[in-house]
């Protein structure tokens, strides 16, 4: 925890040094991804629903996924730029330190501008919640867990994809395919896609477990209460998988070192 706090302060100081640029970065992060939602809002203002999902319901799905992504980018920026550590050989220095390499990569930098992403997700989500009639106390109790699961799934998917750099060196494109495109897909109801694609987002990169399935139950589109467990099953399945792949990568990395 002390390590985290020291890093937190250092990151903040260095990023807030150029105030104007820091300010523009926050604004950029608020707006950057919002365009995707505004476009969908325009579509839904005209056509009223996508496969039976209203705009405010899609807003809620969107905000849960993007909130998780925003928090992950806030604290896990190191995974996103992991290829730099591998390509420059800096990863070696992390391996000889006493703390876990996974933790060190995660805490490379706290990226404050990503709070802009979190803010836009929160605003869209709060707007959605206000319009949704199904929201009750149990939803408010469930929501923090759902958001936490979204952060964890985003983090776990990114660990797996960061680990790909142990084999491939450069992995930026793998991240775009494996994380960004699938995350974007999970912002909309699963029924609009072909079955194979929905299966991939349910069982392989389980983003639907924190977006589509829980909301399917809450919006009353399904009575299956089992769907509320989906986020926990998703996280529980991804934890050993991401840990295993990461460790496998480290082993491979050590064996190719000099």
């Amino acid at each position: 925890m002390r390590l985290f706090l020291t890093l937190f302060k250092a990151s903040f100081k260095s990023q807030a040094q150029y105030k104007f640029d820091f300010f523009v970065s926050i604004i950029g992060n608020i707006l950057g991804l919002l365009a995707d939602f505004i476009i969908v809002a325009f579509i839904l203002m005209r056509f009223k629903n996508i496969d039976g999902w209203q705009l405010h319901e899609v807003a809620l799905i969107y905000s849960i996924i993007e909130f998780g992504f925003g928090i992950y980018r806030f604290i896990g920026d190191g995974f996103n730029n992991f290829e730099l550590l591998i390509l420059t050989g800096k990863f070696d220095t992390l391996l000889i330190r006493p703390a876990s390499a996974l933790l060190q990569v995660m805490l490379q930098k706290i990226d404050f501008k990503r709070l802009g992403m979190v803010m836009q997700a929160a605003v869209v989500g709060i707007w959605g919640i206000q319009k949704c009639t199904f929201v009750n106390n149990s939803f408010y109790l469930y929501l923090p867990l759902l958001l936490l699961a979204s952060v964890l799934i985003n983090m776990q998917v990114s660990i797996v994809l960061a680990a790909a750099a142990f084999w491939t060196g450069k992995n930026e494109d793998i991240i775009i395919l494996g994380h960004y495109s699938t995350r974007s897909a999970a912002r909309y109801p699963a029924t609009i896609y072909h079955n194979i694609f929905s299966y991939i987002l349910t069982f392989i990169i389980p983003f639907f477990s924190v977006s589509y399935y829980p909301l399917l139950y809450y919006t009353g589109k399904s009575n299956n209460i089992f769907y509320l467990l989906a986020p926990f099953l998703g996280v529980a399945a991804m934890t050993p998988i991401s840990y295993f792949i990461w460790n496998l990568g480290i082993k491979r990395y050590s064996s190719t070192g000099t």
Partner: protein
């Protein structure tokens, strides 16, 4: 032209990564297509939307996903910008040809494969034979406009060093105002007016509307060149001003 050749070759090294990236791009296109098919159904309008979206998706690699700031931020970061200033040609000219090589690469290895896949698998309509040349002309104009906008991001990096924020703002503006992910006819009328008075729509919406025979070539051409001339003058003036600043900083 040597600069263009060099940047083409530089991209060529990462062909495998770009193939993965193309699959990613197809997934993004697929998501948009499925949203539109969900609201419009398998109708004539629905299929027109699919064509519109996928032609844009292929074109994104020429008009949106060009290196942010036209390689300038990288040069600012590693200091090589100082040498750029010493070259016999200007920064604007040099950046343009560097981008030309990159665009040519993207056209061959990204846009064309995505377009062919879209035609074969996603049933995207081919353009009317009389629209092919007008489409290519408006696309090239669109590329020049996109280059100039990205060049401003490059100039931003000279002044403010970091471009993360402005890069996100650019992504926001180009996603929302270019019409790359939604045909402008689905925008509210007032919003469409705003969009048509900004340069972004002339990079994506206009070329693709010409492709589909929904926009006159003459009108497209006049408007695009007005933007190109205005942005070029502004870029030239701003480059001169900032070049002087750099000299002062260098002492």
């Amino acid at each position: 032209m040597e600069l263009a050749k060099k940047s083409f070759k530089r991209d060529r090294v990462y062909l495998l990564n770009h193939i993965i990236n193309n699959i990613g791009s197809l997934v993004f296109g697929y998501i948009n297509v499925r949203i539109w098919l969900a609201v419009l159904g398998n109708s004539k309008e629905g299929m027109e939307a699919v064509t519109y979206l996928m032609v844009n998706q292929a074109g994104l690699w020429l008009v949106m996903f060009i290196p942010y700031g036209c390689y300038i931020p990288k040069k600012v970061y590693d200091g090589s910008i100082a040498y750029e200033m010493l070259r016999p040609y200007g920064l604007l000219y040099g950046s343009f040809f560097e981008i030309v090589g990159h665009i040519l690469y993207n056209f061959l290895f990204r846009s064309v494969p995505i377009f062919i896949f879209s035609v074969l698998v996603m049933k995207v309509s081919l353009p009317d034979i009389h629209q092919i040349l007008p489409y290519l002309i408006t696309l090239i104009n669109g590329i020049i406009i996109a280059f100039l906008i990205n060049y401003f991001i490059g100039l931003w990096s000279i002044k403010f060093l970091s471009i993360n924020g402005v890069q996100m703002l650019y992504y926001f503006a180009s996603s929302l105002f270019s019409g790359a992910f939604i045909h402008l006819k689905y925008y509210p009328q007032a919003f469409k007016k705003i969009v048509m008075s900004l340069p972004f729509a002339y990079t994506s919406y206009v070329p693709t509307a010409v492709y589909q025979g929904q926009f006159s070539l003459l009108k497209a051409f006049v408007n695009q060149w007005t933007w190109i001339i205005a942005l070029s003058i502004f870029a030239y003036a701003l480059t001169n001003r900032l070049s002087k600043k750099i000299a002062i900083q260098g002492g």
